[in-house]
Symmetry: C2
Subunit: 80 residues, 2 copies
Amino acid sequence: MKVRVNVVLKEGVLDPQGKAIGHALDVLGFHGLGEVRVGKTIEVDVPTENEEAAVAQGEAMARALLANLVIEDFSAEVVA
Amino acid sequence: MKVRVNVVLKEGVLDPQGKAIGHALDVLGFHGLGEVRVGKTIEVDVPTENEEAAVAQGEAMARALLANLVIEDFSAEVVA
């Protein structure tokens, strides 16, 4: 079963990469954009066929390694 | 309206970052994991209230800047 962990910067944490992307998009002709935030997704094939167990394992992996809980939030969902 | 662009490496493209994460997770006690793939998400506040227009703008931004179409696939969806 495949679980996807989404990791995003917490509200209020400065996102310089997002700012740079926003600026580049404006230069490319996409005007009037608001805030741009960048996150990452980690898709992991976990060895369980139980949805709840897969999500729980995804959350455990996020806490252990994938997310920096000081500045990042995460969510986990089953994708396949 | 907020649109989220998901960018992932195409099937078959080597993902060394994913491999490293998979190895680290195994060391941390998450055994038996399958493939690990890493992607990125870009959330952009676009100046439209039309869902289709927002998704179309997200896709245009992906083609213009956010995704490397040689090795990456993307999808766009409205999130708020």
